[in-house]
Amino acid sequence: MQRWEYLLKRLFLAIVVLFSISLITFFIARVLPSDPAAAWVGPRPTQEQIAKATQTLGLDQPLYVQYWRYLTSLLRGDLGVSIKSRQPILTELKTYLPATLELVIASMIIGELIGLPLGVLSGAWKGGALDNFSRILAVACVSVPTFFLGLLLQLVFFARLKLLPISGRISNEIAINYPITPITGFYTIDTLIAGNWPAFQDVLLHLILPAITLAAFGLGLSIRMTRASIIETLNEKYILAARVAGLPRRTILFVLALKNAIMPTLNVIGLSFVYSLTGSILVEVIFSWPGLGQYLTNAVLSLDFPVIVSVTLVVTVFYVAVNLALDLIQATIDPRVTLS
């Protein structure tokens, strides 16, 4: 019973937050710009275009009517039209979103696969050689600007070592000779399903540099937070009690402490996801990765305002959904969560 109540409460809160988010994006789209109609139509608008935008957006109506229109069109899936391409934004998002998600997921796998174990080990052997190494790695990872790291990696692995491609998701020759049939939009998965090995290899090679670049911040974050939570857990009284009971160190570390440290670890994964999602904006620019980030930064440069607002909205909704999912997972792992 308690658990269901908690789930419902959490879900309700998420919906409230989603509505508030739409309120803020509405505010950014319609209230903040000095001339919302012009912002919606693009640079150097004609009188005619302005009049039409004022009409369609209902800018002559009171704000609450405008918001109602905005909200209902959002719920219908109408995100507006890109100024630059004149295409419905929703259609365009569908082509860009998988590319970004593929990059983000790949970077999360790299970051967490290295970061979590490194964090656990350096927390358990605090002050040791591994700990010193991973602390330096971590602080470097959270300090280096993503876009600068991307350039450095290109310089080393493309220009100097000639090991990896510099940009894009796939080479032109491969794309022509071994075409990919999009199913999921994740090239790695699509090529695997089709058994298209040359393309799979090429796609994987293209994924490595941007994924590592994007993984850096989350990696640093994971090491630091996991390390801190392991150290904190190992200072708990129940760990002392387990030592007093004569339990061996490996049981204490890998069974007793780790299960307690999983909760903060889930938060780490959530946080890394967020940073990856926003970091992808910068990484995609550097690596000409055709995803949401490039879509967004191009929109910033061409003042394609409807696109900016829509991408913000969509990514934020993703963010809220991920956080909700993590909360629910936590509630199933830790018996205490539903009580608080």
């Binding site: 409230v16 937050v17 508030s20 988010i21 309120l23 803020i24 994006t25 950014i28 789209a29 903040l32 710009p33 912002a39 602080v139 470097a140 959270v142 300090s143 280096v144 600007p145 993503t146 876009f147 600068f148 350039l151 450095l152 290109q154 310089l155 493309f158 220009a159 510099i166 967020v274 999602l277 926003t278 970091g279 904006i281 910068l282 620019v285 550097i286 967004l296 930064t297 910033v300 440069l301 003042l303 305002f305 900016i308 607002v309 991408v311 913000t312 990514v315 934020t316 963010y319 809220v320 956080n323």
Partner: protein
């Protein structure tokens, strides 16, 4: 076993003597033992002084401000140009010094504005409680639901590119953290003796908040603000990199990397210098922040 348990032996007459050092002196005592933190402090100092005295330090102040010098373009580092020249022939060292003015001050100002918005709201929420608290806290929930780089990017493009607008946009995504911090501190202070005493002698609410609550919650706020400077500079650089923020020909480390990235493979020095400047600054702030967090931990947790 009647009666006996529960009677506690506590023959104290006086409490243990209070600490003779102030919080900040104790924090400093532990801080200065951290070598990395002192190195960080030195790096920051060099960049701040470099930015502040840029016109005196470079023979090419007009290039630092943006004047092109096409004849000298793409010169690699040399005695005349220690960091080389960029795609418009400008001295890169001058650009880095002048760019520091924008990058550093934007980072600092973002944190200052966020503190100015966040701290009063947190104190009000914590002190008044009730529906005021509820509204303020739900507002922080919503702002924190956005990834801050993205929200700042959207707001800055709505307001229009430029130093001030971008700075405001970032600060708007940042204040809720201070509100939460101050609120939780205020909540624990509200029931303390001196606040009760102030209330009992009929001091009005805003005076209690200003004179009794705020001064007591500022230590953790300043610690947190220092911890945040690195991230603030990083996010400012990112917005400058995507083309918001300072507009050319003015320099900012973020837009310098952006302008130099197309030439980076063959002529890495000018984007590299700006990127390294950001990296070193943020690294230095993280060294300082880590040491400060360790030193201040007992004081942050106390309440």
């Amino acid at each position: 076993m009647q009666g006996a348990p529960g009677i506690e032996v506590s023959p104290f007459v006086e409490p243990a003597p209070a600490a003779t050092y102030s919080e900040w002196r104790l924090i400093w005592r532990s801080f200065r033992q951290d070598k990395l933190a002192l190195i960080g402090l030195a790096i920051i100092l060099v960049f701040i002084l470099g930015a502040a005295f840029a016109p005196l330090l470079t023979p090419y102040p007009e290039q630092g401000r943006g004047d092109p010098n096409i004849l000298e373009k793409f010169k690699p580092p040399s005695a005349a140009h220690p960091l080389g020249t960029d795609y418009l022939g400008r001295d890169v060292l001058a650009r880095v010094l002048y760019g520091g003015r924008s990058s550093l001050s934007m980072g600092f100002l973002v944190v200052v504005i966020a503190v100015l918005i966040g701290v009063p709201l947190g104190a009000i929420a914590g002190y008044l409680g009730g529906w005021v608290d509820e509204i303020i806290m739900r507002a922080t929930d919503v702002f924190m639901a956005f990834p801050s780089l993205l929200l700042a990017l959207a707001i800055a493009s709505a307001l229009g590119a430029g130093f001030t607008n971008t700075m405001i946009a970032i600060a708007v995504t940042w204040w809720p953290w201070y509100t939460r911090l101050v609120r939780s501190q205020t909540l624990s202070l509200r029931e303390r003796f001196f606040v009760e005493a102030a209330r009992s002698i009929g001091l009005p609410g805003h005076k209690i908040v200003l004179t009794h609550v705020l001064p007591n919650v500022m230590t953790p706020v300043w610690v947190q603000a220092t911890l945040d400077l690195g991230s603030a500079i990083l996010i400012s650089a990112a917005l400058n990199f995507v083309g918001l923020g300072v507009q050319p020909p003015a320099a900012d480390w973020g837009n310098m990397v952006s302008q130099g990235r197309l030439y980076f493979i063959d002529r890495p020095w000018f984007a590299g210098a700006a990127g390294a400047a950001i990296f070193l600054t943020v690294l230095a702030f993280n060294f300082i922040g880590d040491a400060l967090r360790d030193a201040a931990d007992p004081y942050l947790r106390r309440t």
